[in-house]
Structure formats: C-alpha cells, structure tokens
Amino acid sequence: MSEPPVRGAGRAEERAEAAMSEAETAGRAEAGARELLEIRGLQVVFDGFRAIDGVDLTVRQGELRFLIGPNGAGKTTLIDVITGLTRPSAGSVRFAGTELVGRKEHRIVRLGIGRTFQTSVVFEELTVVENLDLAATFRRPLWALLRRRRGVSDTVAEALETVGLTDLAERPAGVLSHGQRQWLEIGMLIAQRPRLLLLDEPVAGMSRQERERTGELLTTIAEDHTVVVVEHDMEFLRRYASQVTVLHEGRVLVEGDVAQVRADPRVQEVYLGRTAEEAA
C-alpha cells in the first residue's frame, strides 16, 4: 500500500486555485497523449462474488471514454475503486503516476479526480451558487473558509454558464428538476477543476431534450477535460462516444471506437444485440 509521494496531495491543498489550474494547463500541453489513468490487474470481490476480475484499462490525457456493459458488468464498481469508495482485493490504479488504492476519497479528489453519481446528490438546502462555490474552494485551507463568500468567483460563474444554470443561481438546489440537478452536479465537477472527470450514467432518467442538452454539455467539457462516462443509453452512446470500453462479468470484453465495438459479435451477443432488439 506504500506509494511514492508524487505530486503530494498535501502540497496541492495549499496551492491557490489559480496557480493550480495554471499548472494543469501547462501539464496538459506538455503531456500530449500521455496516459493519465492506468488500471492494472484489478480485482474486486464482494462476499465471494467477483465484481471485477482482472481489469486492465488505460485512459489517456484528453480522451472521452465510454464504459458500457450489461447490468453487473462492474462499471460503477470500477468507478468506485478509482475514487476510493471501494477497496480492491488486488491490482493497482495509478493516476498520473500516483497509486490511488488505499487513499481516502477526499485525497483522491485533491489529486484531481472528480465524479458524479447515478442518483445525483446535491445539497438541497444550499443555493445553486453555494453548491458550486463549495466545489470550487476545496483546495483552500480550512481557516480560509471562515470568511463569508462575497459575490461569485470566476470559476463558479464559468461553471454556471457552462451548465446553463445562471438564472437559477440563487435558488436552493432542492427546487431543481432531476435534469437540472444532474447539470448542477456536472457543474460542480467542472468547478472542482479536476484532471479526470468520471460521470456515472449522466442521462439516466432524463427526458429527450435533457439528454440532448447533456450531450452538448459533455462535448463542450470533453474539449478540454479527460472524461470517463458510464452509460447504458445506446442512443446517447452512438451520438457522443468516441472511445468505448465494454465490460462484461467483471472483465474487459472489447475496446475500440464506437463502430468497431458495435461491429464486434461478442458485444452484440452479450449486450448490444439485445439492447438493439429491445430498442427496436
């Protein structure tokens, strides 16, 4: 469980937001197509059930990667492992060279990984802008939070703009619709300025219009972020995905672009075929 102190979380905390994002941009430019996330030999066992059984996965800087697979394939479990919510029984997860396994959730976030949840969780009693502001200020030391928030910071304003919730900024998040909540979550993710975004079924339960809006949002975000999306929705996948990894029974089945994956007979057998029929 020992890990080299690369880009120590402790130092990252003390850095001001601006400096941080600057460093990131610099890093991004220089790195090009460098591997950002490397998963090797990952195994997760729940009470004897192998939820993930030897997964290797690499996500490169700047990529937009879709994770698909039938129920129980291990998609969300994989995200849970990356973000520290679930502890693997074997294997390693390295993020920009830093081992993530064994780190606490908030430490992983501080390294620059953000995620959303299937059922969106926003703070209903806080206003939209307060939700975003919380997401934007986590790198500050605790004592710096003792001051009142004055106005809206650039980061927050930008996030508001991106997810299109500017009009609702001062409303409590509790009054938002399901779709708006998901956008707020994505907005909070952006405000965090992470280097890797993990979205867990962002369009589940959304109306057609909302999906489209989310899709556009995703495209915008993917322009300057590395994004991993877990998704069920095939229509959504077809329209917005570039790289796709198919998981099945805890293993990686196929990897490739949308066309390759769709064409693969094994995929059709375990997943796409059935879904396509159902959709038809």
């Binding site: 908030h106 995620r115 926003v122 009693e125 919380l134 939070l145 003792l146």
Partner: protein, 364 residues
C-alpha cells in the same frame, strides 16, 4: 437592506432588554436565575451549532460543560484554600495535592483550561469517532454513554473531584465574594456579554463558507468527500467549537450558581439541553438560545408550582414539538409568517414561487 437594519435593531433591542431592563426590573435572585439560564443558553448555542448546523446529535454536552466548570471550580477551591488542601480533600483523606490539581492554582492556566480541556477532549473523541465514520444515532448513543461514564468516573474519584458533592462553597471569586449581590450582578453582565459575543461569532461562522460546508456535511457527508473535503475534519472542528462553548458555559455557571457537581453533567441534563434546543428551533442559533432560556425558566416556575406535573408537561411538550413542529418555535414562527405572506401575496395576485419554503430551512 431594511431587513438587515431591522435585524440589527432587534438584536440591539434584545441586548438592551437583557443588559438594561432586566437588571433594573428583576430582584437580585431572579437576575441570578436568568444568569443561570443564559449560561445554559451558551451551552445550547454550541449544541445548535453541532446538531442544528452540523447534524451531530451530541447527548454528552454535559461532559464539556463539566470540564469547564470543574476547571473553574478547581481554581477557586485552590485559591480559597490558600496553599492548604481544599476542604473536601481533607475529609476525603487526601494528604497531598494531587498532580492533576497543581496547574489549576494559576488563574491563567485555569481560565485557559476552561476552554482548552473540553476542546482537547472533543478533538480526541472526534478524531476517534468521526474518522471512523461513526455518525447519526451511533454517535448520539456513544456521546450519551460518554456522559454516563464521565459521571461515574467523577463520582468515583471523590478525593480528586469531590464526588457527588462536586465543588462548592467558594469564598473568593477574583477578589470578590461570589455570593454578594454586586458580584452576582457583574456576573450577569459578563454572562450576557459572553453569550452575545458568542452568538455573533457563531452567526459569522454559519454564514461563512465553513458554515455552508457544515450544512453540506450534515445533509450529505459522503458527497462532501467527493468534493475534496474531509468531513471528519469539518465535524471535529465544529464539535470542538461546541465543546469549547459548553466549557465556557460551565465555567461561568460556577460563580453564578456557586457549585459544579456531577448531577449537572449526566445523561439527563445533557438530554434536557438538547431538547431545549429542539423546542426553540434547532436550525436557528437564536432558537437554541431561546429554547434554553424558556425551557429552564419553565422548569423552575413549574417545579415551584407543581413538581410532578412538570414531567408530564415536559414530556408532552417534546412529543408535541417533535411531532407537530420539528423545527421548534422559530420554525413555527417562520411558518406563520410565510403563511401570512402567502395570503397577502395571493391577494395581490403575485405568483408564489415554489421552493420558498425550502429556502426557509436554510439555517441562520
């Protein structure tokens, strides 16, 4: 803006009432009682912060109240003894001043300990408990058991703590007779002043980003982790602040009432404080203070009139408040005002925006 001005005007009114009207209108012993309620209100303010804002239902606040009270009591005892052993140690057969007592001969150390000891204990407990994600009901039960264990420990170490008797019979409070009316009056002002200052500080805290973060931790501790914050740290800090307030309250209680004893710190007094906060309105800091003052006042006056009835009344009141008005008196007031506003709004044909009610829940 006028809202704000009115708010400050009313704060000033209350301050005027407490600092000018009450001392003039109340006979000395009633003023002393009010000072006692205000001490408890300071502890309640801490509970309002930890529970109302932070969601930590602490049923062991008496422990911190006691630590502060005993720190103060120990100093006063040593001061009265003037180099000899405190009286209770003599009749408990203690021959040398225990090491634990030595530092408390110094007033500066004792006054610092009033806040620092409760804070240290809270930090230790918080680090053990919150870091392991023990929360909700489990935390409540543990804090209650802490209060029970603490009382047993205090009572059992008679030579060290005065046992069930506690520490009492103080003759000199920083050069004044603690029972003298002038001292009592001064103490009343001190207590009211401390309460006012702490209230303003707590409000500042709640209004700050930290306060928003605290509410976020209360409503979604696990989600907060994924925003990059450590909820255990946030909770521990808040718990420590509330413990410090309770310690200060306990220390002020000693000169006001003239005694600190285990019967003030156990399971029941701790619970009573929490209930007072619930009755006043847990989501508002003002509610906590209001609840503590009103409930303790009611307790005193009812037990003067009809001792057995107080238990019925108290019990019935909790049941009613928890069932019908979980947000307490302040919540009821808000509801009534909203209803009024809505009626006015409706007659003016204004469209009621959904979610205004939710907004009201945002604590102040």
């Amino acid at each position: 803006m006028s809202e704000r001005v009115r708010g400050y005007a009313l704060f000033a009114t209350v301050a005027l009432l407490l600092l000018v009207v009450a001392p003039l209108a109340l006979p000395a012993f009633r003023l002393d009682e009010l000072a006692k309620y205000l001490c408890l209100a300071i502890a309640a303010l801490g509970i309002g912060l930890a529970w109302g804002q932070g969601g930590m239902l602490t049923l062991g606040q008496g422990v911190f109240f006691g630590l502060g009270g005993y720190a103060m009591g120990m100093y006063l005892k040593l001061h009265d003894a003037g180099g000899d052993l405190p009286d209770f140690m003599v009749w408990s057969g203690v021959e040398r001043l225990p090491a634990l007592w030595q530092p408390f001969g110094n007033p500066v150390v004792a006054l610092a300990a009033v806040v620092l000891v409760p804070v240290a204990v809270a930090v230790l407990l918080g680090a053990l408990v919150f870091r392991r994600r023990v929360r909700g009901a489990y935390f409540a039960i543990l804090s209650q058991a802490l209060a029970a264990a603490f009382v047993i420990l205090l009572v059992g170490q008679q030579g060290l703590t005065g046992g069930t008797n506690g520490l009492t019979n103080f003759y000199d409070f920083f050069g004044r007779d603690p029972e003298a009316e002038s001292t009592q009056r001064t103490m009343y002002f001190v207590v009211a002043g401390v309460l006012g200052v702490l209230y303003l500080l707590a409000r500042q805290l709640v209004g700050s980003r930290f306060g928003r973060l605290l509410v976020a931790v209360r409503d979604g501790e696990d989600r907060v982790r994924f925003l990059g914050y450590d909820p255990a740290l946030v909770k521990t800090v808040t718990f420590a602040i509330s413990a410090g307030m309770a310690g200060l309250a306990g220390a002020l209680f000693v000169p006001v009432v003239g005694i600190i004893s285990p019967s003030l710190l156990g399971v029941v007094p701790s619970l009573e404080l929490v209930v007072a906060v619930a009755v006043g309105g847990r989501y508002a800091l003002a509610g906590a203070i209001l609840g503590a003052v009103v409930m303790n006042y009611a307790k005193t006056s009812f037990s003067e009139e009809w001792a057995g009835g107080w238990l019925y009344l108290q019990g019935a009141l909790f049941i009613l408040v928890m069932t019908l008005a979980p947000k307490g008196a302040v919540g009821l007031y808000q509801q009534a005002r909203d209803a009024l506003a809505r009626r006015r709004g409706a007659s003016a044909a204004a469209v009621e925006k959904p979610g205004v009610a939710v907004k009201e829940e945002v604590p102040a």
